[in-house]
Amino acid sequence: MEDIALETRKTFLEVVAFRVANQDFCFDLKSVREIRGWTETTILPKAQPYVKGVINLRGSVVPVVDLSERLGLGATDPGPRHVIIITVLGNQTVGLLAELVSDILTVAETDIQPIPDMIDETVRKFISGVLVMDDRMIRKMELSTIIASDGRGLG
């Protein structure tokens, strides 16, 4: 009886799963506005290396962040097969450069496990948990640290 009660209280979450530097990541689908193919960016002077530049998203100027570089996994050499995940966090719209988008998954929040303590600080800053699905391990990305809402995170 108690088990059933617990079961129904489970909250589910839709996440978008994608690949960066051959690793699986995901974040809340609610933050995603659209997914588009790679387009050439306009380079921003004096920007952080992981800021690939800006693109025109229907009249808005949207910066693109190379997730691989941001996570310290090496710079991406973007080509037509790469995707830009347009995310909205607060008032800020930012594009995230990834290798491909694999799935949209519905997961229970309880399925997301905390990351072990031994993993170093930089990773812990960007990754808030781990989701194990079949034989895959999907890291849940902390969007707010990738894109600080005041823009400083990109600077």
């Binding site: 306009t42 002077p45 009249g59 100027v61 949207v62 910066p63």
Partner: protein
């Protein structure tokens, strides 16, 4: 219902703005020529209308003060009081206070402003009465009734239809509609009809909620104000709709009998010779009056509509998109290469022209005359003058110059500061002025004009000018420059814009300390404007602000540098040079200079500044753009190629990213890609260390 009321409120306040503007205009005219009766009437009418409207909204403090003010104005109007400078000054202060009260009421608080009490006392002094106990209207209107008994006064037998709906709280607070209706009956004949339409089944009946609505047909001589007073205690517990049935404009009607009323006795009491003059006067006046009427009529047919600013901005954005799409289409068409007389080319050309017109038209919607802002400044001058004890005349020119609404709004703070500065620091004390052979009254002039696609705003005073030695000394004391630096007069004047610089020897309460012109300058920069100073010792100082007409588009030169397409605002470019023909000199510190007519100009490579490349050794294949910065320094920017010159739509980088040094904003080009708009002044400052000669100044700025 509440929505309606809010709307009425909003339109009342908008009307107030217009009336206040008319009032201030009136004061300006009165200070120019004395005894202008028509102007006095106009001022009186303005205050009277504000009072009337405020009464309808139950803004008691506002009504009380306006009434008091109006009584004093009426005394002058009817010739019982002479309007001298002192009284005019008091009236101006009252006008300012009235603006404050209206502003406070608009914000939702009908609270007395700090100065109200003192002004009321001063008005009492002038009136020689205790205005507080005076019953509004009665004494003023009595003679009217006597002289023109046959006049159909608006108060007489006006009928009203009042719709009264009780909100749930009405009964909880122990009120009863019956009592209210009974009170209303004391004011005239009342016929109450209950509307039972909303009463539901017994099951759905809520004991605390009154489902009955009442329509009250009232006839009697009470004004809407008085009727509202009956419901005053339940104001928040009911909704009240009052519809005045009698046709006509009560305000105008009320004014008409006033004119002969104050004319007739004066004519009668005058001796024959003067009476002649008065008759003439009388003959002339209707003309004036009809002229004034015509002014009002002229404005009416054009009419205005209130539009949510958001809607306009959305439209502006869309038009921006249209312009971008048009440029993209132009490129595709050019790629196809149809003959220039083909249908597609011709059609596209006319489309382009249309899009241009639409863009202009949409931008014009946002444009506003600077007049209201100038009027605010008039007040700042008055306040600053009384705080410093100086006599100041305020002159404005070009107040109908139109500027983008946002620009106007964001200009208020910097202008306020500069106006205060002009009065506080710019003008000398009266004694010093007289000693210098100038009139004791100082003049501060604020003018606006359109010049080559920009708006120029000048703030000038006829004070002592900038004391350059003193400025220099302070700059040395603060470590902003070295004792040994030789600076040109304009460079010294520009030191005033340095952060933390304050030229007043002692900190004055009025203009604050140090946080001054640097903030002004950066705010104006943010608007895409520039500010400069000219000062003649003994003659005065002029601050000139040059601003873009709009924040939405910019005339730009499309350039290529290190493979990047960028935009340079045309307004900054003085000329373009071919390095091949220009004489380029290396200097020891590693910088390079180019010589042109006016001397040596330092060179900055845009590509290097932004980190796209290291400065090219050979400048021959490049182009130099000669730029003049705010502080009249000239620089040459190295770019690779000039591609085009066109209007570009300004897009914010900060919305999704952040500010970048040397970049003002972004735009979208014909190919749909983003190009960054360069901020030349910022580049100059950012690379200041390389500037030989100007070293300290550049570092400091």
């Amino acid at each position: 219902m509440t929505v309606d009321r809010d709307e009425f409120r909003e339109s009342f306040f908008e009307e107030c703005d217009e009336l206040l503007e008319a009032m201030h205009d009136g004061f300006d005219r009165l200070s120019g020529q004395q005894d202008d009766e028509e102007t006095m009437h106009a001022v009186f009418r303005a205050v009277h209308s504000i009072k009337g409207g405020a009464g309808a909204f139950g803004l008691n403090h506002l009504v009380r003060f306006a009434h008091h003010f109006e009584t004093a104005l009426d005394k002058v109007r009817s010739g019982k009081l002479d309007l001298d400078d002192e009284l005019l000054d008091l009236f101006r202060q009252c006008g300012d206070n009235l603006s404050d009260l209206v502003g406070a009421a608009r914000e939702g608080g009908d609270t007395p402003c700090p100065g109200t009490g003192t002004l009321n006392e001063r008005l009492d002094d002038v009136l020689g009465t205790d205005g507080h106990v005076e019953d509004p209207e009665e004494p003023e209107f009595e003679p009217v009734v006597l002289d023109f008994g046959d006049f159909d006064l608006p108060g007489d037998d006006s009928g009203m239809s009042i719709r009264f709906t009780a909100l749930p709280g009405l009964f909880k607070s122990g009120n009863d509609p019956v009592v209210l209706f009974a009170a209303l009956e004391k004011l005239g004949t009342v016929e109450v009809t209950a509307d039972l339409a909303d009463i539901g089944d017994l099951d759905s009946l809520e004991p605390g909620v009154c489902a009955i609505r009442w329509t009250i047909d009232y006839s009697g001589n009470a004004t809407e104000e008085e009727v509202r007073e009956v419901f005053e205690f339940v104001e928040d517990l009911c909704t009240l709709e009052i519809e005045v049935k009698s046709p006509g404009l009560p305000d105008l009607d009320a004014e008409v009998p006033d004119l002969p009323a104050d004319l007739l006795p004066s004519v009668a009491s005058l001796d024959p010779v003067k009476a002649d003059g008065a008759t003439l006067d009388k003959g002339a006046r209707p003309k004036e009056r009809s002229g004034a009427k015509q002014d009002q009529d002229d404005r009416k047919p054009g009419g205005t509509i209130r539009v949510d600013l958001e809607k306009i901005d959305k439209l502006i954005n869309l038009v921006g998109e249209l312009v971008i799409k048009e440029a993209m289409l132009a490129q595709s068409i050019a790629d196809l290469g149809p003959p220039s007389e083909s249908e597609i080319s011709v059609g596209f050309e006319s489309l382009k022209a249309l899009a241009g017109e639409i863009q202009e038209g949409v931008m014009a919607i946002r444009a506003q005359p600077v007049k209201p802002m100038f009027q605010r400044m008039a007040r700042i001058v008055r306040e600053a003058a009384s705080a410093t004890g100086k006599k100041v005349r305020f002159v404005t020119n070009g107040e109908y110059t139109e500027v983008d609404k946002t620009v106007v709004e964001r200009l208020v703070d910097p202008l306020t500061h500069m106006i205060r500065n002009a009065v506080d620091h710019g003008l000398e004390k009266s004694e010093a002025r007289v000693a210098a052979g100038k009139p004791a009254e100082g003049t501060v002039t604020l003018s606006a004009a359109h010049r080559s696609g920009r708006v120029m705003i000048d703030i000038s005073d006829d004070g002592g000018g900038i004391n350059r030695d003193r400025v220099r000394q302070i700059a040395v004391e603060r470590g902003l420059i070295n004792e040994s630096d030789s600076l040109s007069p304009s460079e010294i004047e520009n030191l005033l814009f340095l952060p933390g610089f304050s030229s007043a020897s002692e900190v004055s309460e009025l203009s604050g300390r140090g946080v001054g012109l640097d903030v002004v300058r950066s705010e104006i920069h943010r608007l895409g404007g520039r500010v400069s100073i000219q000062s003649d010792p003994g003659e005065g100082t002029t601050f000139s602000i040059s601003l873009p007409l709009t924040l939405a588009v910019l005339e730009g030169m499309i350039i290529q540098v290190a493979g990047q397409t960028m935009v340079v605002p045309i307004s900054a470019i003085q000329e373009t040079l071919q390095p091949k023909s220009a004489a380029i000199h290396d200097i020891a510190t590693g910088g390079r200079l180019v010589r042109n007519r006016d001397g040596l100009v330092p060179i900055i490579d845009v590509g290097e500044f932004f980190g796209f490349r290291s400065e090219p050794r050979d400048l021959d294949p490049h182009v130099l753009l000669l730029i003049e910065s705010d502080d009249s320094h000239r620089y040459a920017l190295v770019v690779d190629e000039i591609q085009d010159q066109r209007q570009v739509v300004i897009k914010s980088l900060e919305t999704n990213y952040q500010q970048i040094d040397g970049i003002a904003a972004a735009t979208i080009l014909g190919d749909g890609r983003i190009a960054l708009i360069i901020d030349p002044d910022n580049i100059v400052r950012g690379s200041g260390a390389k500037m030989a000669g100007d070293l300290n100044l550049q570092l400091a700025v």
